[in-house]
Amino acid sequence: MTATIYSVVNALVVLLLNLLGPYVPGSGPYGPFVATWLSYLVVGGIVLAFSMVNVLVFIWWERKLLGRFMDRRGAMHVGYAGLLQNLADGLKLFRKQPFAPKDADEMGYYFGPTAYLVFSMAILGFLPISFGVSGGLVPLSLLVALALFSFAPLFIFIASWSSNNKYSLIGGMRTAAQLVAYEIPLLLAVVAVVALTGSFDINTIVGDQASYGWFALPLLLGLIIFFIAMLAEVERIPFDLPEAEAELVEGWSTEYGGMLFAFTMLGDYVRALIGSYLIVLLFLGGWSMPWGLSNYPLAGLVFFQVKTYIVFAIFIWVRASLPRVRTDQLLQIGWKRMLPLAMANIIWALALVVWGYPNIHWPVM
Amino acid sequence: MPEENPPLRPLIPGITAQFPQDVTVLPRRKDMLAVLKVTPARVAEVAKYLRDVGSFEHCALVSGVDWVDHLEVLYHLWSDSLKGYIELTVDLPSEDPHVPSVTEIWRGANWHERETWDMLGVRFDGHPDLRRVLMPEGYQFHPLRKSFELHEPEELEVKARHV
């Protein structure tokens, strides 16, 4: 239970360094230092590979599903059923020359999307993804994940501001307003879950769900609020105002091309991935399986991934059937509808706790 | 006396009585309720009369023709109650043509007049915003004048090859 990806990697690295003996600096006085940073690198690489593979499949999944929703086929040509299309797109974007617009602030221009992607990906280092499988064991993993998740508006705003383009700037402003507005219902929906479990540790939350049933049932309202707020957080239709292509050319990423554009898109999808993960972890039982199968990490991982893809499929379904809302309507929905509902949800969760969830003693009528 | 159209029977005598010097009734064509020839100076007044008295509330088209020796400006007005068009024609000199604007009467005539200025060089006095519409600002010519010659396709081809 205490083994994490980091601890396994660290042990392997230390073993390797010891085997190599005097030929590498790992055995000197800086040994522990080198070993630690080397394992950070390896874990980073694993997280990168994991997130990238997931994102590529995500994009493929969206293309195919959206295609069928729209009565067409989606990507068809590269690889089997277009599986490699995203790799081809990525390769194409990778080969483009990166350049900044003439009057752009270069540092912010390059820093914005990069940090957006990196900080989004870093969350994956803390999220447990199966029984006993997580990048690093942090007691407050949920809190860390949500904190990192809320960094995005800052980087988007930096990127849009330094692009020196009016569409980018409007898109960036809208992003900031939108993300701030929906951060609060999102966190309030999480508060209800935390109130039920009494812990910020995702492992505990999933463990509780394995024991007492998914939180989606007692906290259905919370799930809906969390889902809608997550749609807004990851900027998907109907809340994709920051890149409303009909009025702002491409929103805050208008000026980006080549690999930097790929960063913005990858960042979006990594955030969508994490959003789906969080929904599954908090409300849909995470990797917990029926029939007491939870002790097999790999099976748990597969089950967890399947749930994630189903959640993302609902994201896609919503995208395929709803138009985009307007800025003022978006903020109205956020502040006037979602916030009171989230409050009500917390009160409901507290009532559940008072009544002794999961063994509810209904108050006598 | 040209053949009269029953729906217009009260209107045509009325307008000729109102503007005896300035309105001539031309022979009717079968696709028009009536064709009136108006002197340039009184166009706006005749138009206002037609809108208010004759219920021609829709100014469908303002256009022009270059007859080399003179210009002709055409107004086509539609009436929902009479269900038909009426045509006003105004003859203008080729050099420095001026005609009063009807934009005050129908806002919809705004861009038609701009286009007529753009294409034929007719100045509409009193127009709020007489700029070019289709051709770029600062363009030298009025392309629908007959003096503006198109290149033969062969010429264009030769030019295109050399570019």
């Binding site: 069928r68 929703f69 009565d71 067409r72 086929r73 395929a320 059937s321 | -």
Partner: protein, 263 residues
């Protein structure tokens, strides 16, 4: 007589819209389409689908969840690449005359017996596929076919020489049946006899050889009058063979031939 009513549309909100309307209706509609299109998406996989034989292609392409209406069918009167039968072409120039885009040029073609004749060469870079040329062709030798794959990466390849158009003709593409019939009362070539000098140019260049030079009597010169210097022949046009191409008019040095209604 027709019934034309004014129909003010009532508001379409169903009574339960307030409850179900938010997302349920559109999402349900889209999901229904999703299930249908799982089996039969409407996409035609163009370059791959095309390789099927024509009949099979028509049968295999179906609209999602619907009766096979026949998407992607190319009917026989599609106006695509031209087909030219060089052998029956009479070099009348009508196609080049009637082309609004001046994309047809008459180029000499070797007829095999050492002689050359002029046949149309078409530049598809300019062609708008309007079909005026094939409508105008009096012999029916220039037609349009359902072929539409003319894409190429060199501009020069867009110019189809007569030989290349002849290859299209020899291919198995169905012919476009449309051709405008000549109107009953069409104009004929008329002669202004006073201007004619009997030079034979019209007869020489007539593609259908329907102009014959006939002898006319040389009038007696009156006293003091000088007879015009000319050859005492004038053209006579056989109207039933004439295709009204106007070649004679364009070659006439004295502008003495013209179109007009038959007297």
């Amino acid at each position: 007589m027709a019934q034309v009513h004014e129909k003010t549309i009532k508001r379409a909100d169903p009574p339960h819209a307030a409850v179900t309307g938010i997302v349920v209706y559109p999402m349900a509609t889209v999901a229904k389409q999703f299930v249908k299109s799982l089996w039969r998406p409407s996409t035609i996989l163009y370059p791959f689908g095309e390789r099927l034989e024509n009949e099979d292609f028509r049968k295999s392409v179906k609209v999602a969840s619907g009766a096979p209406i026949g998407v992607g069918e190319i009917w026989d009167n599609y106006r695509g690449v031209h087909a030219l039968n060089i052998k029956t072409c009479i070099s009348c120039n009508l196609c080049a005359f009637s082309c609004p885009d001046t994309c047809i040029e008459m180029v000499p073609v070797d007829t095999g017996s050492g002689k050359t004749k002029k046949c149309p060469e078409i530049d598809y870079g300019k062609c708008s596929f309007c079909g005026f040329c094939s409508d105008a062709c009096p012999e029916g030798c220039l037609t349009m076919t359902p072929g539409y794959t003319i894409t190429t990466n060199r501009r020069g390849n867009m110019v189809y020489s007569p030989e290349r158009l002849f290859e299209v003709y020899k291919g198995k593409l169905p012919q476009n049946p449309t051709s405008l019939a000549a109107p009953e009362n069409e104009d004929v070539i008329l002669l202004d006899q006073d201007l004619c000098i009997g030079c034979n140019a019209c007869s020489r260049d007539c593609p259908t050889k329907c102009i014959r030079m006939i002898d006319i009597p040389k009038p007696e010169a009156k006293a003091g009058e000088k007879l015009p210097k000319r050859i005492w022949k004038e053209p006579s046009v056989n109207d039933s063979e004439c295709v009204r191409c106007g070649t004679c008019i364009s070659v006439c040095p004295r502008e003495c031939l013209y179109w007009g209604a038959r007297k």
